[in-house]
């Protein structure tokens, strides 16, 4: 399965869902295909899942999608038992698992290239709907359910290692700009102040 093809299919279907992305090539690809105010590109490893939890708990009426990578989830495995116990019904986590630290440019294998099964780790942590998909059709099925149904979902997407994102021109939106765009969007759509300035 190719990550870009997953995003190409999903991006036009998104409406008011919030999306949090981590660091790997997925942030470049999603940022290229989506460009929504509801996207929060964190640009760091090990943080997207937890930030997504905070958003899902703060805004239970909004659906929160988190796009993670194997390396990023492995960096913060303690998130999984916390996520299981909090069990936000409005959250879907998609872990794009290419089994490598491809950003290192030497394609160093991650633990999922060895014995580690992230869906099993999530399941063992208590996340009931924890599955692995490796075909685009199965990704579409899970993503469709995430768009339309309730319930916490944790979907490990086995993908081919791709360096296609290196050919995509990077966004020149900086992180603070991303934050304010996201927060002002929430203020507008939720009808409540979040960051109040009195300049």
């Amino acid at each position: 399965m190719i990550r870009y093809e997953c995003f190409e299919w999903l991006a036009p279907l998104m409406t008011d869902q919030l999306v949090v992305t981590s660091l790997s090539g997925q942030r470049v690809e999603w940022g290229h295909l989506s460009k929504r105010e509801a996207d929060l590109n964190l640009g760091s490893m090990g943080n997207a899942l937890a930030v997504g939890i905070g958003l899902a708990l703060a805004l239970p009426q909004r659906k929160v999608f988190v796009f993670e990578s194997d390396g990023s989830v492995l960096l913060s495995l303690f998130n999984l038992p916390t996520l299981a116990n909090l069990n936000p019904p409005n959250m879907a986590v998609f872990v794009f698992d290419n089994q490598a630290y491809s950003g290192t440019r030497i394609s160093y294998p991650s633990a999922t290239a060895g014995k580690t099964d992230l869906a099993a780790v999530a399941k063992g942590s208590g996340i009931e709907h924890s599955v692995t998909v490796s075909a685009l059709a199965d990704f579409k099925k899970e993503a469709t359910a995430a768009l339309h149904d309730g319930g916490l979902r944790f979907v490990v997407c086995k993908i081919e290692e791709s360096v296609g994102h290196r050919n995509i021109t990077r966004s020149d939106v900086d992180l603070l700009e991303t934050k304010y765009r996201f927060v002002r969007y929430l203020e507008r759509t939720e009808g409540k102040p979040i960051f109040q300035g009195r300049g």
Binding site: I53, L57, T82
Partner: protein, 168 residues
Amino acid sequence: MEQELAQRIVSGLHDAGIDVITYLPETRLSQMLPLLRDDGSFKLIAVSSEAEAVTIGAGAALGGKQVAVYMECTGLYVSCYSILSIAKRFGVPLLLLIAHLGSFADQRNNSVYAVSGAYVTPILDALEIQYRLVESGQNLETCIKDAGRHTQALKLPVALLFSGDFTR
């Protein structure tokens, strides 16, 4: 910590407008947790690591909540990366409530804690996080309210370090 001080921390958090508290319990300030729970007006989020106390708190803050993060000072070491890569880099207001074990005024200080406490303020200085030491109940509610207002104004984390009477 005496029950009265615990209750006054809860009142101070109320006054500061805090509505979400992420936490990993510890030994010095934990008496406030049942009070916070019984109060009913705070959303309490138990975590497995102080690192995610910060990141979950940051997500909630971006979603419109006013957030306090309660941890032992060793949790500051654990959460440095989260503070730097999310709270500092994105500019997210978080009121850090830190039990300062191993500090001069820690009434239960011993060799287990002393080294852990020694690097807390240097790390906060290195991260450029403004903080106040709180060692008695004098002006406690005002201190918490001031810190809450300051973190919202700065849109950055601000810390209160509790020691002295809070560690009895």
